[in-house]
């Protein structure tokens, strides 16, 4: 019996080896189950959509693309183990994905050790493309300096003078706080930071922080509380009248429709925030077709923001592989440097020096719209990924 198993296993390995030459293997790392699935699931929609489109058009270099998706569980250790397994067990040619800055840094470290290209589609910590950058890591997401700079511009535009900052206590929150600091200096030099608050990742009770903000006398709050962190913060702050007292300028993409569409009438006043994509806003003509295809796949016309990020990551890999004529890590990395593609949210170019794509975001106030039960961003302003020195 045991021998039979060994033979079967051996045959499987041989078969896998034979198949590998005929296909391009992409290792996909998103939080597919558990808490993070709220982001991982839509991200997988975008990923699969890009892969299906490419395969329908003949794959990459004439080879079929096969995805090997692993759950990162939103945990750096799990992501790191999954990335290693993808490389050693599944023999993937390239890694894509990552959700949460800490997870992105963990995957990037594996990519560095194993010499495999990693395209980071969602993590925004600036460190990924500065002090932790290596030959094989590229980022198609925005980053905390772009985000902080845009927030500085909005603070200046609204003429806010006293700023309270509340951030999640991990890589993303710390780096965004630093990005905002720089953005304020550049655009709103007379705005003064009066309060710095740090909240545990996954925190559910914000009352102690809300009363501190309200007592500090600030006219603006800058923040990066994302997802359910923001929902809870808003639900707990609203009865205090917090959002009548301050303007809330937030990174963390809380202007995305998955937040606004779910909070509906509970979404607070005076929020200015960002998103990578809005199903109701066609910045680029190709967005219309993208949105229709995504709507079909998601089963709703009011689609989430995450798919486009995963989608763009795959498209960059495909374009680079075609240009390099190979999926060899070094050749792929060389092709990704300076690579330009057009995406449903406009053209994107990866900087050859920093390995960072010029991923701008849509920013604006979240307003009530007549006839809709949820809030929408209006007016939508595209703030490009440019930091004027």
């Amino acid at each position: 019996m045991r021998r039979l198993h060994l033979v079967a296993a051996g045959a499987a390995v041989l078969l896998a080896g034979a198949a590998q030459a005929e296909e391009i293997r992409i290792g996909v790392l998103y939080p597919i189950a558990g808490t993070g699935a709220v982001y991982g699931e839509p991200a997988m929609h975008g990923h699969n959509m890009a892969v299906d489109e490419l395969n329908a058009a003949g794959g990459i270099l004439g080879k079929k693309i096969v995805s090997f998706a692993r759950d990162t569980k939103l945990k750096p250790a799990a992501a790191s183990a999954a990335a290693k397994e993808l490389i050693t067990k599944d023999g993937v040619d390239v890694l894509v994905g990552g959700l949460s800055s800490a997870v992105g840094l963990a995957i990037s470290e594996v990519a560095r050790q194993e010499g495999v290209v990693y395209v980071a589609t969602i993590p925004k910590t600036i460190k990924l493309t500065t002090e932790k950058r290596h030959d094989h890591v590229f980022r198609t997401a925005s980053h905390t300096d772009f985000e902080g700079d845009a927030m500085g511009q909005i603070v200046a535009k609204l003429g806010l003078k006293k700023i309270c900052d509340i951030q999640l206590d991990y890589a993303y929150g710390h780096d965004l706080a630093a990005g905002i600091e720089k953005g304020l200096k550049r655009h709103a030099p007379d705005a003064e930071k009066v309060l710095d608050l740090r909240v545990k990742l996954g925190a559910t009770d914000y009352n102690a922080f809300i009363s501190q903000i309200m007592g500090a006398g600030c006219d603006g709050v800058t923040s990066g509380l994302w997802g359910s962190h923001f929902v809870n913060f808003a639900q707990q702050g609203s009865p205090f009248g917090l959002f009548q007292q301050i303007k809330y300028i937030s990174g963390g993409e809380i202007a995305s429709h998955e937040i606004a569409g779910k909070m509906k009438g509970d979404y607070p006043d005076n929020v200015w925030s960002n998103t990578y994509e809005l199903w109701y806003h066609h910045h680029d003509p190709s967005h219309v077709a993208f949105q229709e295809a995504l709507a079909e796949r998601s089963g709703t016309g009011e689609t989430a923001m995450w798919p486009v990020l995963a989608y763009i990551g795959v498209k960059f890999i495909a374009a680079a592989a075609e240009k390099a004529g190979s999926v060899d890590a070094d050749e792929l990395a060389a092709a990704l440097k300076g690579m330009s593609i057009s995406t449903p949210v406009g053209p994107r170019t990866i900087d050859p020096e920093t390995h960072q794509a010029d991923t701008g975001q849509f920013w604006g106030p979240m307003v009530k719209k007549e006839g809709a039960e949820y809030r929408v961003m209006d007016p939508v302003t595209f703030i490009p990924a440019v930091i004027a020195e």
Partner: protein, 314 residues
């Protein structure tokens, strides 16, 4: 006083403590925040403690019951009827049904097994329920509106405070007193206390002990459901919320003493005070403090502030 505040602000470099000392209404708000958070946690922790007190099972799935309560409120109040209170009622009712199924179907077979077996089984239930929740409600983060009558805030003279939070501060002690009256003054309550003392003797006297167990398990689970339902307006129903709450509840019931209602009550208040003042005075250590208290209690009084030392009546 001013010199003290200045000393704290400048020499200690602690703006949070200085704000508490110089601004009485801020200090008062934190007190109210402590109580309202504590009362919500108490409702849930009391259920966990009650179940342990009688059934001697540490139910890890209690957090999942809380999560189900929050989700049910979302479905009933937000999606179907628009009536929050109906949602909370449905959450209690729904958890009663879940409790019957789980107690009769699974837990009744493990009461005489060792603790490790019990933990493994309840943990399996946690995993199953979190997947069931995902199948029913998906992975979105939902938002539940406050009941229309409690959307705003009340002027307390010193400060305004959200009505709904005040409601929690009232409802917590009411539930504590209700539970106390129930266990001390009713026949069923007396029988449950007897069951914790000597279940064989009780059974020999002709009392249907399994029924008592089922009843207590239902009551404890309903408390988790209602607790989750009441938390839903400020705690967005979302996957993973079960894991956060169960840790808080364990801290509370262990500090207060497993099996003691008033222990859970005091434990919850201690937790609320430590969390809310801690996050102002020592923001970087806010997560550590509840566990330091847990540690201190375990070292000095391992059976908790209101618990009884183990042994003798097991």
């Amino acid at each position: 006083m001013d010199s003290i505040i200045q000393f704290v602000q400048q020499d200690l470099g602690n703006p949070g403590l200085a704000a508490l000392l110089s601004n009485p209404s801020f200090a008062f708000i934190q007190l109210m925040n402590s109580f309202s958070q504590a009362m919500n946690l108490f409702i849930i922790a009391a259920g966990l403690s009650l179940i342990f007190g009688v059934l001697r099972v540490i139910n890890f799935a209690h957090g999942a019951f809380y999560m189900f309560g929050a989700y049910i409120v979302y479905s009933v109040a937000q999606e179907w009827t628009g009536n929050f209170w109906l949602g909370v009622f449905a959450a209690g009712l729904g958890l009663a049904v879940v409790a019957v199924v789980i107690e009769r179907g699974l837990f009744q077979y493990i009461y005489d097994k060792e603790h490790l077996m019990q933990l493994l089984l309840t943990f399996a239930v946690v995993l199953i329920l979190s997947d069931v929740a995902k199948i029913i409600w998906g992975t979105d983060q939902y938002s539940v509106s406050y009941p229309a009558s409690m959307k705003g805030a009340v002027d307390l003279g010193v400060t305004v405070y959200p009505t709904y939070r005040l409601f929690l501060i009232v409802v917590g002690p009411a539930i504590a007193i209700g539970l106390w009256l129930f266990t001390e003054r009713t026949r069923f309550g007396r029988l449950t206390r007897a069951a914790t003392q000597d279940r064989e003797m009780l059974s020999a006297l002709g009392v249907n002990v399994p029924m008592i167990y089922t009843g207590v398990f239902i009551l404890g689970s309903v408390l988790a459901g209602i607790g989750g339902g009441l938390a839903a307006p400020f705690n967005s129903p979302t996957p993973g919320m079960d894991a956060t709450i169960i840790v808080d509840c364990f801290v509370i019931v262990i500090v207060g003493g497993l099996g003691s209602i008033w222990g859970s009550f005091i434990g919850a208040i201690i937790y609320g005070l430590v969390f809310n003042y801690g996050s102002v005075i020592v923001p970087n250590w806010q997560d550590v403090f509840p566990f330091l208290i847990l540690l201190a209690v375990l070292l000095v009084r391992p059976w908790g502030l209101f618990g009884k030392p183990e042994g003798g009546n097991a």
